[in-house]
Amino acid sequence: MNAPVLTREIMIHTIAVLLDGVRHVAVGASSPIPAAAAMLRRALNERQDRERVRISVLGSQEHNFFTNGGVELFDCAAQGRVDAFFLGGGQIDGQANINLVGSGEYPKSDVRWPGCFGSAFLYFVVPRVILFREEHSPRVFVDKVDFVSAPGTSEPGVYRPGGPHALLTGKALFSFDKTRRRFMLRSTHGGADAAEVRANTGFEYDLAPDVGPTPGPDAATLALLRGRVTDELAETYPHFAQELAAERKAA
């Protein structure tokens, strides 16, 4: 319990803060950090006697209360019943466009990625989409994506209750301004400072007046994360929970 706060723990806590106020968050089957953050948010709300947080883990049998097949997540989101979701991308650009298809010329991409999944829909209808990518490098954060799987913003008149809320990487937290269509660097972590983030980011962005270290959890929150949340996490992501434990030991 006395190990120093890990970067991943800061990221989990940061996402949990970004999830403040949500009632239903959906996470992908292989997204342990967002899942951990959602579980932490749920635990925090319970401790504070606030609104109940529901978590849907896609593709999970255990943590999935959907009963209308694969389409239900999308219908549920379209109904406005999914408050937050996570998207990543092989490339993400400064206008929050994401590319899950491939780099280079389409369709014979130089590097082909799996495909768009539900991004071209969920990015439009989920109010709080958190862009999450641990790798923070110029090959991921590009000036302009080679293929727009889902656009960061839409023209006036396009139905779009949802969109990007923040971008979290292994080095930095950005907020996104829909009107200016630009990210703003809020804070850094993982040993990086503003200069290192600048060097590793291929797009232009604004700087918050007070860029400093991303705040970590307080002692009580850290205890919750290392206790109950890690136990819950182990049920669905045993491998990740073990990794976290090993990192704590080594730290």
Binding site: G70, V71, L100, V101, R112, P114, A120, P151, E155
Partner: protein, 272 residues
């Protein structure tokens, strides 16, 4: 309807050019039937992944039976990218129809409802619109100026999946995996492999009936024990992640893929 046949007879009905719909990894993937289809060797099949696929699509592509793959994604999940898929797309060896999950569902549901198209929100501003000239953007007839995407019905020749149980009347237990029902409604014919066939009707009460796909929609059923292996079958067996990782590694080269496929006989070996 609901005819019980051998795995070979089931697979043999997938012919050159057949448009075949398959479900996603956790929904009952007919892996034993996939091996049997590859053995039968049809050409140029149009694979519709509802809405994404993994090892099944990668194998069919690697084996050279796929002409077109229509999908929201192909991935081996924690084992990384799907190597035969990625190479075939890069080389132009298969035609790719990139999609997004709910658009695939909408195309299937359009066919289920016998309508030529369904509207869907989102997508506008995505390069998918250029990649999919068969999708259109229209004015919402109820709010001029409100642009909305419409996707055409997807009408597969064959829907193929694996389920735990069928009864001898041809009814199939699908649990809450209702996309399997939609695929069957949408498809001209539906082929199902199952772990076992029971003598009693699956329609034993209103509650149980909720989990059943009626025989009306089921054309051929074959028994294939552990027929989803190495994928999971809900309430039956878990995914074998190590086996998928072994495939992911071997399939990085054409030769490794060929070597893997030499010994890939899910269900069959176990059913003996």
């Amino acid at each position: 309807m609901g005819e019980i046949v051998s795995l070979e007879a089931l697979a043999g009905a997938v012919r050159d050019g057949t448009k075949i719909a398959v479900p996603t990894d956790y929904s009952g993937v007919a892996m034993a039937a996939t091996a049997a289809i590859i053995a039968a060797g049809p050409k140029n099949i149009h694979l519709v992944c509802v809405p994404a696929s993994g090892m099944q699509a990668d194998m069919l592509i690697g084996a050279g039976v796929v002409g077109t793959v229509e999908t929201s994604a192909v991935t081996l999940g924690e084992s990384g990218g799907a190597p035969r898929f990625m190479e075939a797309v890069r080389d132009g060896a298969v035609r790719i129809m990139d999609a997004t999950c709910p658009a695939v569902h909408s195309g299937i549901i359009a066919a289920e409802k016998g309508v030529p198209f369904l509207p869907i929100r989102g997508i506008i501003g995505s390069d998918l619109l250029a990649a999919r000239p068969d999708w259109k953007v229209i004015d919402n007839p109820f709010a001029p100026g409100d642009r909305i995407v419409v996707v055409p019905a997807i009408e597969p020749d064959v829907a193929l999946f694996h389920a735990p149980v069928a009864d001898r009347f041809g009814n199939v237990l699908i649990g809450r995996r209702r996309e399997l029902a939609s695929m069957a409604y949408a498809a001209r014919r539906t082929f199902v492999t199952v772990e076992r066939i029971v003598d009693h009707s699956l329609f034993t009460g209103e509650k149980d009936a909720a989990a059943v796909l009626p025989a009306l929609y089921v054309d051929r059923i074959a028994v294939a024990e552990r027929g989803a292996y190495p994928y999971a079958l809900w309430d039956e067996y878990p995914v074998d992640g190590a086996e998928i990782a072994r495939y992911a590694k071997m399939a990085r080269t054409k030769e490794g893929f060929a070597a893997y496929m030499e010994t890939f006989r899910p269900g069959k070996a176990r059913a003996a």
